[in-house]
Symmetry: none
Subunit: 253 residues, 2 copies
């Protein structure tokens, strides 16, 4: 009997020659929010480091378990698919994917039981040619031409987010109901519109204007909003008070 | 002849009560990489600030042009659609969208010429209830349950990325507008709520009940429905007539 693979565990985030330890911490947090825990560091400038821990903001487990390697090839051990994040457009000679396309391919590989690496270069210089040459495809986050460089941890966040969305796939939990209270049903809405119409008569709103046009517009407005029972009770209460004022005004004419 | 609207200019990123100036800088950079330049700050703890400029990493133009406001409503001036980013799941009484769904809706609104706001709360406390009540929908980045809090600038990056992907999209024709009339903007909605509150006082609706709770519920109800100007005029007319009755009732006591 085979059990379903632990899909998030099939992904590793590989940070190559990272200059700023803070970015390692921020990247750990970014990964962790999206459910990923495996980080591999290649020749980090400074690690472990207090700033990395501070910016991990609780994702200390990711940092504690992070592998530290001398060479990219060690960090890729056991993986069969590697995506290199890069802002370069030429001379790479690799298929160029969007983060979304890469996430779909990465998920498909993980579902086949493969290990997948997402590889991020140095903050300033990105991935070197020889590093990209160890990747199967290049992923380009679609930044604008004149300001193309994302912060390292931001690039990690975008890629982790796309992987998370792919993993959630069609199995997204149903969104919670908009309301804590039961939604108003058709009969309740009908009584609501009757009360609304009566109140408009009582406060002398129409003054010769066609009530049907107005009521149609009000129907569209209040149907569109999909009220719950509490909201309905609140509006009934307001109408009742407006009617009470109209009665008082009438009684004393 | 009409020219195509400058779509990225239709979006603004609103940062509310941001504690750390560094996050403002990082958010500016995140926006800029995705082609967005308009930032509005509501009661920032510290701004301008050297750390904000340092982390903007060249996106100084975004910081220099950022508006600074005392209240969220000012930052929303002229916008007709506001999405509140939040990790909360209950008691919000707003439709919950994924970033991708929100990006699609935001793009459709921009294609109709509307201004759209993406609203981000304080780092620790997120958006308050009264702030969410000024939004038309809530956006939840699909983080994992046990580590759900993204860094502020990371949340900005994810939302800006999804908007950028939507903008690059297929240049789909804009879906038909919900309304034939212009949508109500933030200032018009504010006047509407003031009128509503005054009317409730006049018809003696509260009778000792807490007006703030009621007004918050009414705000959420009427924000959710995204009214157009004609609908707004119609409701103003109803309120005015209810007030007239209250005056008559009062005069004749």
């Amino acid at each position: 009997m085979t059990t379903a693979p632990d899909l998030p565990a099939c992904f590793r985030f590989v940070l190559v020659r990272t200059s700023h330890p803070g970015n390692i911490g921020s990247a750990a947090r970014a990964m962790r929010t999206m459910g990923f825990a495996r980080m591999e560091l290649v020749a980090p400038h400074k690690f472990p480091d207090r700033e990395a821990s501070a910016l991990a903001a609780g994702a200390d487990d990711v940092l504690e378990q992070a592998g530290v390697h001398g060479e990219l090839v060690e960090a890729l051990a056991g993986s069969s698919l590697a995506f290199g994040l890069s802002a370069r457009r030429r001379g790479v000679n690799l298929p160029e994917l969007t983060p979304r396309e890469a996430a779909a391919q990465a998920l498909a590989a993980a579902q086949r039981g493969e290990q997948v690496a997402l590889v991020f270069g140095n903050e300033r210089t990105g991935l070197e040619n020889e590093e990209l040459a160890r990747c199967h495809a290049m992923v380009r986050i679609p930044s604008v031409e004149d300001f193309s460089s994302l912060n390292l941890s931001q690039a990690v966040q975008v890629m982790a987010y796309e992987l998370r969305v792919a993993l959630l796939g069609e199995h997204l939990p149903a969104p919670p109901p908009v309301h804590d209270e039961p939604p108003a049903d058709a009969a309740q809405m009908e009584r609501f519109f009757e009360h609304l119409a009566q109140m408009l008569d009582d406060i002398d709103f129409h003054k010769g204007r066609a009530p049907t046009t107005i009521m149609l517009r009000l129907r569209k407005l209040f149907q569109r909003v999909q009220m719950d029972e509490r909201e309905l009770r609140m509006l009934h209460g307001i109408f009742a008070d407006a009617q009470r004022m109209a009665r008082l005004a009438g009684d004393k004419k």
